[in-house]
Structures are given as structure tokens and as C-alpha cells.
């Protein structure tokens, strides 16, 4: 294919010169490209995060949340995060952030530890059971964005919180954010 045989009809006495091309570099290039395409196509696969929303058609009363296990995360505009422990909406609201150090992650880790300690000290009292786990309520405000939501859902996975729920924010909580900012 890549050979060109010289015309034998030529009478001139010439050294027979076979024009054979060395194809090794071309093969190298070919395989290099194959490898490249194979690797890049693999890495581009998108990943997903699975969420399971509570069934709205369910008439059953949802499980009662124990006050000491609850942590509410409020997402606000400009990537601001607020949180409070317990279920009372009069609780003190503190501000945090999505930073990996000293941010929401540390708040969740601290809360997990708090729930564990409390459980050990008070087991048997007021319905405290030994298999209670930290539960987190995520309440995005209307001016928060999708990134905030995914970031906080991601924190659930990073810290292995198995009980979390996405709920609508209440007016009272919106007021709490406003107060906490001042």
C-alpha cells in the first residue's frame, strides 16, 4: 500500500530505491489517540445525587421528631447559612458558611456529637432511645439558589446523616434570619 515500485521500464542504471515509509510513529500516534479518547470519554460521565422526597399522598402522620436530635439549617441569599438546634423557633439562630473549615460541616459534626452525648446521659428519659440519630431539617429561603441546596445535601452525605428532610421555610424563621443578621 505504502510502497511504490519504480517503473522497471526505465533503462537508466540506477540503484533500486524502495520508497518504503516507516509507519511506526504513525502507529504510535494512532494508539495514543485511541487511549486519549477512551480515557476522556470515561471521565466525562456525570454523577448524580439521589434524593427521596416524602410521599405527599401519604395520609399517615409523619414520624415525630425528637427535639434534641433536631438541627435546622436555613439557607439564605449570598450563600449565607443559618442554623439552630432544637425545634423551638424561638431558639437562637447562628450564622455559619459553606467553608470546609469552621463552617457548616463543623456545625453538623458538633451536633452529631451532642446528640450522642445527650443520648448516653439521658437514655430512658422523656422518650430518649439508644438508637436516636441526629436529624437535620434543610429549609432554603426563597432567595437561596440551587448550589446552596446541593451543598447542604452534600454535607449530609459527607457527614453521613441518614435522617434529613427538605422543608419549606416558615415566616417566623425568615424573621429569625433577619434578626440574626442585625
Amino acid at each position: 500500500m505504502a510502497e511504490i515500485v519504480e517503473n522497471k521500464g526505465s533503462r537508466k542504471k540506477r540503484k533500486k530505491n524502495l520508497t518504503r515509509v516507516d509507519l511506526t510513529p504513525m502507529v504510535d500516534l494512532g494508539f495514543l489517540l485511541i487511549t486519549f479518547f477512551m480515557l476522556t470519554t470515561y471521565f466525562n460521565e456525570p454523577t448524580t445525587m439521589e434524593i427521596i422526597m416524602p410521599d405527599t399522598g401519604d395520609t399517615d402522620q409523619p414520624n415525630e421528631l425528637k427535639a434534641y436530635t433536631a438541627l435546622t439549617i436555613l439557607l439564605n441569599e449570598k450563600n449565607e447559612v443559618f442554623y439552630y438546634q432544637g425545634l423551638k423557633q424561638t431558639a437562637e439562630v447562628k450564622q455559619t458558611s459553606f467553608k470546609s473549615n469552621g463552617g457548616l460541616r463543623d456545625v453538623i459534626i458538633a451536633h452529631k456529637k451532642y446528640v450522642n452525648d445527650y443520648k448516653q446521659d439521658h437514655v430512658g428519659e422523656n422518650g430518649v432511645e439508644s438508637d436516636d440519630e441526629a436529624s437535620i431539617l434543610i429549609k432554603p429561603n426563597k432567595n437561596s439558589n440551587y448550589d446552596n441546596l446541593v451543598n447542604s445535601l452534600d454535607e449530609m452525605e459527607i457527614n453521613q446523616i441518614s435522617t434529613y428532610v427538605l422543608v419549606d421555610i416558615t415566616e417566623q424563621e425568615q424573621n429569625l434570619i433577619a434578626q440574626a443578621k442585625n
Binding site: 500500500m1 448524580t48 445525587m49 439521589e50 422526597m53 439557607l75 426563597k142 439558589n145 459527607i158
Partner: protein
């Protein structure tokens, strides 16, 4: 001892055949690569540590920065039945060409009224604007809400050809306001679609966290 003189042979190997194979494979991979579906909008997904791959043949709802919703679906066989069924049920009056374009992978981002024009648009006359699929926040019943109708049709017609019900994936931009996302999720949950996959781009698990320790323990096994 006299030695038999072997005729000297050149050690050159003919690389032509190998070169042929290399380029044949290269061509194969280039053609077999599934290219990103033609997307009308650029969506930058947020990052997460989750590593579930996107389920195959899933319905993809793309939500752009402004909250417009787009519908795309990969299952060609199901789409064929689906567009026929939808056309009959809603009386959309779609031409054969429009149906074919839909089957061959056009992303839908128009209300039913503009569907025919949008699906037959061939890119010749300037830009086409995508208003997005209407998601009526007052009613989430399939008869009134177009987005729900699209999703429900995709599920129904995939089932009708004997395949598993497709999963619903949401691919939204990081900057999309939360109420827009909530509206789509509510539309799905009101129709008892409770398992939703959110498309994210991969990110490494931060060291020192609970998930990191578990991943390390799993890797050691």
C-alpha cells in the same frame, strides 16, 4: 567448524497492517462516543461527592439559570410511541418531520402551542428562543401541567413497550433560584414521583470526614 551462512534478513516489520488497525480502532471509538446531547442552554451543575452514575435511559429535566425547564429523553424506542401518543391525546397536530426530529433527540423547551414550529426549526432563520416548558404551579395534574404531562408520558410509554419505568434526573444550574427548583420537585412529588436524581459534577471526598473514613474502609477490603 564451518557454519552455514544464513541469508541476512532485514529486521524491518511492515507497519502498514498495524497502522490500519490503529486507525480503524480510532475511527470506531470516535464514532461510537456518545456526544453530549444538543443542549439549548449552558448549565453548570453544582459539585458534590456523590458518585452514582446517571441511570440509563432516564428522563432529564434541565433547568437553566432563569428557571426555564427543558425536557430530554434518550430512549428512542419509547420516544417513538410517546410522541405518537401525546400527539393524539393532546391534538398537537405534529408533522411527521417534527415527530422524527423529536425521536432523533431534540430537546424540548416549548409549550405545546409552539411545539410544531420548534421541532421543525432547522437552524436556518436566525436564533430560536426557548421559553421553557410551562410548569403551572397552581395545578400539578397531568391534564393542566405540561411538564407533568411530558414526564408522565415518558414513564407511561416506556412501560408500554415493556421496559422499566425511567428515572427522573434534574440537571439544574448552580445559580438557579431555589423556588424554581422547588416548583419542579413539587410537580414531581405531587405525582408521587419521589425518587429523583440530581445531576452533579464529581468532587473528591474531603479527608477527615465520616464519608471519607467509610470510603477508606471500603477501599481496604
Amino acid at each position: 567448524m564451518p557454519r552455514n551462512k544464513l541469508p541476512r534478513k532485514s529486521t524491518h516489520i511492515d507497519m502498514t497492517a498495524m497502522c490500519d488497525v490503529a486507525f480503524l480502532l480510532l475511527t470506531f471509538f470516535m464514532l461510537a462516543t456518545k456526544f453530549k446531547p444538543d443542549e439549548p442552554v449552558i448549565v453548570k451543575t453544582p459539585r458534590s461527592i456523590s458518585a452514582f452514575p446517571q441511570p440509563e435511559n432516564s428522563v432529564l429535566l434541565t433547568i437553566d439559570k432563569t428557571g426555564k425547564v427543558f425536557f430530554s429523553f434518550d430512549n428512542t424506542a419509547a420516544k417513538k410511541e410517546m410522541i405518537k401518543g401525546m400527539d393524539e391525546e393532546k391534538g398537537l397536530g405534529l408533522s411527521e418531520q417534527a415527530k422524527l426530529n423529536f425521536i432523533n433527540g431534540k430537546t424540548v423547551g416549548h409549550p405545546f402551542g409552539a411545539l410544531e414550529t420548534a421541532l421543525t426549526w432547522d437552524g436556518s432563520e436566525g436564533e430560536i428562543s426557548y421559553p421553557g416548558i410551562p410548569n403551572d404551579t397552581k395545578s400539578f395534574a397531568a391534564e393542566n401541567n405540561e411538564l407533568v404531562f411530558w414526564v408522565k408520558s415518558a414513564m407511561l410509554w416506556t412501560q408500554s413497550i415493556g421496559q422499566e419505568v425511567p428515572r427522573i434526573c434534574i440537571k439544574a444550574d448552580s445559580q438557579t433560584p431555589y423556588p424554581k427548583i422547588r416548583a419542579v420537585i413539587t410537580a414531581l412529588t405531587k405525582n408521587r414521583i419521589n425518587r429523583i436524581n440530581l445531576l452533579t459534577s464529581a468532587q473528591a471526598i474531603p479527608p477527615g470526614t465520616a464519608a471519607y473514613e467509610e470510603a477508606m474502609a471500603a477501599a481496604e477490603k
